[in-house]
Symmetry: C2
Subunit: 844 residues, 2 copies
């Protein structure tokens, strides 16, 4: 059966030799790029000709085929895929049981037999028998074979020697899942990498090749579950006639050991079940959930379970009938239990109509307040899925106190891989560095004195829960590179690696990813690693330092700057900056009491302004702008400085990346450069907006004289304008000088007469690129056209605001006193070719 | 007028910074890739900020814009384009007249004023005046400004210092034209780079951007004329209602100083003119030509002239009325003369119904026989356009004797840039190396003892003709890289460079081209230069050594092997190989007398077998196979050896190219590798076909035992076949063993049981890739799919022959005794998934 075998062997791509596939980002960290030089020679020496599979599952076949594929890519050799132990050197991929049967004499040295290797574990070991050398990938189950095979290939790709390999790895936790927030219409909530790979027009996509390829990416990290629809769930997914759609997706993921998980709507018994209630304590409702679960498990026997978002952000929940979250979770969980399914119940429950005038109100308290009293009331197959911080994926939050508060309840940490508040694939932000701080944070839970970091709590290790772990919100899409940004792939890689082994350092993860994704050139690796590892701090520096949270438009696109968006509304992301000071007083003594939700050892540190880390200061305390930080700076000066540092750091990334040009493939070089150059401009927009806001609010000037003073900057509203009209932007901070110019005619011009010294200059044109049209711009010096461009980025706004504010940088322009610099704008669609300013920067 | 200026400044591409444009081959040698390191620093030091244009012609504006564009690409700086002499350092591009006016004091040191620089010349010179440094591009006319500007940019791109530049260049000859054989329907005769850039569906293409870009490529080489339609001309081009189509094309080429030339049909007065005759001596015919010329010149005042192919290969001509070529040429030329137009009259006139049994018949005599008696009978604006050799662009021909026989007639050499008999863009063949041999060949013409090389004769230098030069048959097409093969661009580059200066060496041309096209890495340059410079000899070695001509299907596609295609027919490309010997006896003593057409000093060398160069031996003499060459080998052994050497050389190109992987951009690396790997397989097809033919014909075995003995080769017809049927191929030499297998079922298999030693092997599958369908193949070892591919190359045949014979090479395959190697073929269209053989080659 050729076609079946092709699928099993993963050879669909054979028509091109792997080595010659263009670098598009599609293969992510599984490129299997050809080894060269000494690494190739060493690998050819140590890799035998045969890979034998002692297992007969589809997942086992995927493992064997992956080894064939990987070796083919890296060594240019096609190993022989065999089904029994060969009488020659070989890689042997086999379950412990089959290996014992085929080679009873082998000593794999696992203490007490198969049971001693936990589910999904693997063991890599060199065995010499009858003068032959076998590199063994052994595991208690097929997933373990797959994970071990990927681990073996990773070692080869990283140039590690295989000779004498001896290593066992077990997953840190049982739950290593991703959530995709894909809507059935094909759109993705908080998705920045294109439309859904799963859905289009209310159905599973015709071609599910990418779903299978996504399964492979996930499997390479040890991820074994994937929810395939938005947590703001369409009830339709539980309709019987929709089951075949889900089954098709499950079939595409199954060879990679990835189970489908469904997000369900708590109101389903009523909305699609024909009942007049969804009260979790009603028998009929319980029966409905049971029959719905039975139906779906008969179609998809290996379904991982359900994810449920209830009583949150407009979703219905148990509160409709005065029931508890435990009531809600258990009624669904009991329907899943006979099938071994899990219910992941989201802890992201809060009131978004809180009175902002009440200084005791605090959204950060919500998860703890809602769930800690219910500890012990949840069934054993319920898992509370808790966001890393108490708010919502902000650039800096303390670990959620709920992690330390559930002792008799399963929990999982929800990390956001998609960069909702983190630049949305337009900014480079390496999140594993941030996640590590939370995962390693000691909650001082339990009764022993040994550390109880968040990772151990969520894995169930502290309170001896058998279920728990890690959930990543990923929104891989149809973009060729999955994430909309090559660098963002590192976040998925890092999530998966941490879910498998949260003890890995961020540096190690970054380095593995870089070498697998961009090759082993030391300059490339060092440069990219450094960019990745500093990127979170850089982003924090220009978007919300000192625990301010991300100072973005929290009721809008979660992308551009909007310092006040969090204030004077019920959403509770308040930072309470005013003319005197800034920060949320969450102390037990004078504030909201949030700090009191932590165990005393943690609360003591947070409560004390002296002990509280500066990074979290404004998240936990309200202070005057003149408050002096541990490093001796005032808060206000720190806000100024950090923003300038952040913007400069991104300019540094651009320069560092440019030095890699000869070392990186053309396409990815170009695409990453474009992203970084855009980010550099946007970092300056943030810098200027935030620092001006705080300068105005505090009335305290920047000690370094930068804020409000921009050498070489010419506001568009002050230029000689033809047909351009001066316009107010959405917020004063959205434009330099608080105003822009926009064009309501067919074409408009803004002209500046240059009076500075002769020389070579870089011109920066700050313009507005909305998503409701494509304007065109031309820049002239005298009669000479110097540059032209289109405002065609995909940015989430239709307004003149910080989101649309975009920089065009034109280097190498010769200027002479008296030159006329003229920008011509041609509106397109609803976009009015607006301009903010022109900046003239001398070149060295 | 912005849009006009954009066009004038050539800034259409500005929307992407040039440095980041992907390498597609479109920009050919005008990439203006960013300089780096010391070269960049030096160039930034020496290039000023201003380029001033002292000229007001469109061509002058192109020159200025090109400098802006080039400097922008290489230095990342946009120079100021000014229209008068600036009071600062500048590049000054100006006609001698305008420079004298603007800066009367400048000493450009041209002996006696403007007249001393011939048309289209340029002078590059550094002038210091008033403490300022001007780099001057001076010329007597706008074309000279353009050529000088391109020369300046070439210097910068090649890293040559500009400081103190002092150089004058004049074109070697007045005619530097290309002929495109494009049909009005958009197809191209002998075109291997896609469809026509000029025509589609009987009209000029809607979008002529590529025509303008082609004009720029031509201008960069100093080419100033381009015939835009097939020499087998459609009479329609002279219809009055067609003129606007031609005028549009002329407009696109005009800013680059390239004049349109038209190929016309001699029967036009009758076929479209409404006359009942086209007799050149008829008044009415002369009047018709005059009015046709007047009409076209009124639409296109700068038309270069006409090209005329008459009485050749089915075209009508003066013979219809018993008139001479002079009569024919002069009637057309007199119509052109008042407008300054030239008539290029093709010397490619011969009888293709010659009796092959008459050993005195000889097509090689035709050009001389047809034209030398007419010497002096042609008007002054007639130019006889003579192919480099006496036959037709074969891999090796002596220079045409006609070059030495016209003393009172203008002549031009016709060189073929498109690789009709030279692998047609599927094979790497650098033609300038071949052209140089002809151009430098001393014809011993004239009466002085000084050398009279072909280049001097065609330029009119020997017999003091004012008109003459170089015509290249180019068929640039819509393929992104213009030629269908990146490496083939070097042939256009080389043609243009030689037309400008035929004293340039092939090595210098190759090196310039490589550095401009692939950058300045020394390993890259050395590798590509060596490949290019040896490629003609390599191609000759496997397609027709010792002057056999190209042993291809001369009545068919001019591509695959067909040793006998030249024989026993009237086309006259006979090599007369039989069981005793081989070669055309063209001696004066015993042969066709062709050698007698040369001047005695040349004839003496050719006539004597002892003096005749081995490379031309079989073109000029008939010898037994056992004839011993100057190097001591017999002719037959030389034929064997050269074919093996040629095939091995191409394998060497593949290996050499593979070493460039990290140094060449991804796409061009991949595309060139694909071409070279294909060529390596095809060279083996040629090797086997030709050596087997001569082994059979001569009855003399290869002394090295290779011919007919192929280690590791398994003929498909001997394998275990399921549904595959044994088939005869077109010629015995078209397949190894004289047979192939083809599949008339839905799918067929051919299976081989391997019995050799265990190890790593390369498998070579020789299959047939016709152009009337796309078959699919899969190769299995045991149950394992190892490779799959589609037979989807574009090769010019619908048959099982040497043209369709194609090699698939699969490296890194582990084999064990007893393995079943199985090829599965799935026919597509009329193509029957045919197989020739499988070869198993051990890897080291």
């Amino acid at each position: 059966m050729p076609s079946k075998l092709i699928a099993a062997l993963g050879l669909a791509c054979l028509s091109w030799p792997i080595a010659l596939t263009a670098e598009t980002g599609y293969d992510a960290w599984l490129r299997y790029a050809p080894l060269e030089g000494a690494a190739l020679a060493q690998a050819r020496q140590s890799i035998p000709a045969v890979v034998a599979l002692l297992d007969d599952s589809p997942v086992g076949h995927s493992a064997q085929a992956e080894i064939v594929r990987g070796i083919r890519g890296m060594l240019g050799r096609t190993m022989r895929a065999e089904g029994s132990l060969p009488t020659e050197n070989a890689i042997v991929v086999g379950t412990l049981e089959e290996i014992r049967r085929a080679a009873p004499g082998w000593r794999l040295e696992i203490p007490v037999g198969a049971a001693s290797l936990p589910a999904n574990s693997y063991r890599l070991r060199t065995v010499t028998a009858n003068g032959r050398v076998y590199t063994v990938v052994a595991a208690p189950d097929a997933r373990g074979l797959l994970y071990g095979s990927f681990a073996l290939l990773r070692k080869i790709a990283l140039g590690q020697a295989l000779a004498g390999v001896d290593e066992s790895q077990s997953p840190y936790a049982s739950i290593r899942w991703v959530n995709q927030w894909d809507n059935l219409d094909g759109s993705i909530e908080r998705g920045y990498g294109g439309r859904s790979i799963f859905w289009e027009g209310g159905k599973a996509r015709e071609d599910l090749t990418r779903v299978a390829d996504y399964g492979r990416l996930l499997a390479s990290l040890g991820i074994d579950g994937c929810s395939i629809n938005n947590v703001n769930a369409n009830p339709k997914v539980l309709s019987p006639d929709f089951l075949p759609q889900i089954a098709r997706i499950a079939e595409a993921l199954r060879p990679w050991g990835v189970r489908v998980v469904l997000a369900v709507d708590f109101g389903s018994p009523k909305s699609i079940g024909g009942l007049d209630t969804f009260d979790p304590l009603e028998e009929r409702v319980a029966a409905w959930w049971k029959s719905a679960a039975d139906a779906i498990y008969s179609a998809i026997p290996d379904l991982g379970g359900f994810v449920l978002k209830a009583d949150s952000e407009g979703r219905v929940g148990p509160s409709t009938y005065g029931r508890t979250h435990a009531d809600a979770a258990n009624v669904v969980a009991r329907a899943l239990a006979p099938h071994g399914g899990l219910l992941l119940y989201r802890g992201f429950v809060y009131d978004h109509h809180m009175d902002w005038r009440n200084l005791k109100n605090d959204r950060a308290r919500a998860a703890y307040d809602n769930f800690h009293d219910l500890d012990g009331k949840f069934d054993d197959n319920v898992v509370i899925q808790i966001k890393n911080g108490p708010i919502d994926f902000q650039v800096r939050e303390p670990a959620s106190p709920l992690f330390g508060a559930l002792e008799k309840t399963n929990q999982a940490i929800e990390l956001q891989v998609t960069q909702e508040y983190m630049g949305q694939a337009h900014h480079l932000v390496f999140l594993p560095a941030m996640w590590k701080e939370t995962l390693d944070f000691d909650m001082h839970a339990g009764n022993s004195t040994s550390p109880t970091p968040v990772k151990a709590l969520v894995a169930g290790r502290v309170f001896h829960r058998t279920v728990g772990g890690f959930v990543g919100v990923v929104n891989a899409g149809l973009d060729e590179n999955w994430m909309g940004n090559h660098m963002s792939q590192a976040n998925l890689y890092g999530f998966g690696r941490l879910a498998w082994d949260p003890d890995l350092s961020a540096a190690r993860i970054a380095d593995e990813w870089t070498r697998l994704t961009f090759g082993s050139d030391p300059t490339v690796d060092k440069t990219i690693d450094q960019m990745q590892l500093t990127s979170w701090r850089t982003y924090e520096n220009y978007t919300g330092p000192l625990g301010l949270q991300t100072l973005t438009d929290i009721t809008g696109n979660h992308y551009g700057v909007n310092v006040e968006a969090s204030e004077r509304n019920g959403w509770g992301q308040w930072h309470r900056a005013d003319d005197k000071g800034v920060g949320m007083d969450r102390t037990a003594a004078t504030g909201t009491g949030y700090i009191g939700q932590y165990r005393p050892a943690v609360a003591r540190v947070f409560e004390s302004m002296a002990a509280c880390p500066d990074d979290l200061l404004l998240f936990l305390h309200h202070v005057p702008y003149t408050h002096v930080l541990h490093d001796g700076k005032t808060v206000i000066q720190y806000i100024y400085d950090s923003h300038y540092e952040g913007a400069e750091a991104v300019e540094g990334y651009v320069r560092a990346w440019q030095r890699l040009k000869p070392l990186v493939d053309e396409r990815r070089y170009r695409e990453v450069l474009d992203q970084l150059e855009y980010q550099a401009g946007q970092a300056e927009v943030w810098r200027d907006a935030v620092t001006n806001w705080f300068a105005r609010a505090s009335g305290i000037a920047d000690a370094k004289g930068r804020v409000g003073h921009y050498a070489g900057r010419f506001e568009a509203e002050r230029l000689a304008l033809e047909r351009y009209a001066v316009r107010d932007v959405t917020l004063a901070e959205d434009a330099s000088g608080g105003q822009a110019v926009a064009c309501a005619a067919a074409t408009c011009t803004a002209t500046l007469r240059y009076q500075g010294p002769s020389g070579w200059y870089t011109l920066r044109v700050e313009y507005f690129d909305q998503n409701d049209g494509v304007s065109h711009y031309r820049l002239w010096v005298g009669k000479q056209l110097i540059d032209e461009w289109a405002a065609d980025r995909k940015l989430p706004t239709r307004r003149l605001d910080s989101t649309s504010s975009t920089r065009r940088q034109i280097s190498g322009v010769a200027l002479r006193p008296g030159d006329e610099i003229r920008v011509e704008g041609v509106p397109g669609g609803a976009e009015q070719a607006a301009l903010d300013y022109i900046e003239i920067v001398p070149e060295r």
